[in-house]
Symmetry: C2
Subunit: 190 residues, 2 copies
């Protein structure tokens, strides 16, 4: 049975809380949808912010909506080095004692005490696909990705299963570049 | 038999020809050694240049000495995207019809007509280690690298055997970050 999954490369982005959105864009501001993402209900917003580290800043970082409980900044290890922060490799939502930064919006600034992470590679699966692939939520798998010149097998990939997911593997730009991903690419869970 | 090799992450760098060094730093200028590299005779120079693409520039890019026949700029795919060039994944020295850029030094500028590449991952081996590992020059192998959270097997790794090499695998910063390399790390040829 083919255990193939679409591989999507996530560029750096920010999730914001309602409270922080108020500070960054003004009281009562609402995010506007630029582009829907593969995960149902998730979207890239038109709104952008600057992420400031001790060494440098990253301008025009996309906000992903809708708002979340806690603000979270997801960058690559290349970005982390560029702006001068030590960001841990974590699953989304696991931000306790992660790295700090300043976020600057058109209406104000937020000093983030924690929330800067490098996303751990993962696969979103519907319960149907998880059953079909014979894998469980939280299981760690390896994924083989064949490309022209940088074929790789990525280990330490976390399976995440939820009713409202669309099946797709998410890796960051360092990983996408290391594997040489261009265009639509599928990986095979092995 | 253990086929272990040290994995070294190469940051972006430039190799310059004598002719271009004259333009960038002044007629008759000679590179000065900042730090010797693992490959015998190779060194990071104190001299740095700016690599300029159509979108952005990379400042303070290290020159690796000694001078070579042709100028070559080795950047990551992340860098390529940042500065706005489409750089091919190539073995060092294979620069025909690769990407272009401008290089700026304290004494002058060079419009590079070709020479910007993303280095193909490779392993330098002494003839003794090649024999011990049972691999040949130009052979393509896979290398397993275990790290905390980003263990990977990198394929499409080119073996290069030469008398004056020190045995070491070279990957770029995207690859080093994708594998989560920190500190001294060894890979296993599989």
């Amino acid at each position: 049975m083919e255990r193939k999954v679409l591989v999507e490369v996530s560029a750096r982005h920010v999730h914001v809380s309602k409270e922080h959105l108020d500070i960054l864009f003004g009281k009562g501001y609402e995010l506007t949808v630029k582009k829907n993402l593969s995960q149902p209900g998730q979207y890239a917003a038109n709104e952008r912010v600057t992420v400031v580290g001790p060494k440098k800043e990253l301008k025009n970082v996309t906000i992903l909506g809708p708002v979340r409980k806690a603000t979270q900044v997801e960058i690559s290890l290349t970005d982390a080095r560029t702006i001068g922060v030590i960001a841990p490799i974590r699953e989304s939502g696991n931000i306790e004692a992660s790295a700090t930064c300043k976020i600057v919006g058109p209406a104000g600034e937020v000093e983030l005490k924690e929330g800067v992470i490098v996303a751990k590679r993962h696969i979103h699966l519907t319960p149907e696909d998880a059953e079909k692939f014979n894998v469980k939520d939280k299981e760690i798998v390896m994924v083989k990705i064949d490309t022209d010149g940088r074929s790789s097998i990525l280990g330490d990939v976390v399976i995440r299963v939820r009713e409202d997911f669309a099946s797709a593997m998410h890796i960051d730009t360092d990983e996408g570049n290391a594997v040489g991903i261009t265009g639509e690419t599928y990986g095979t869970i092995i």
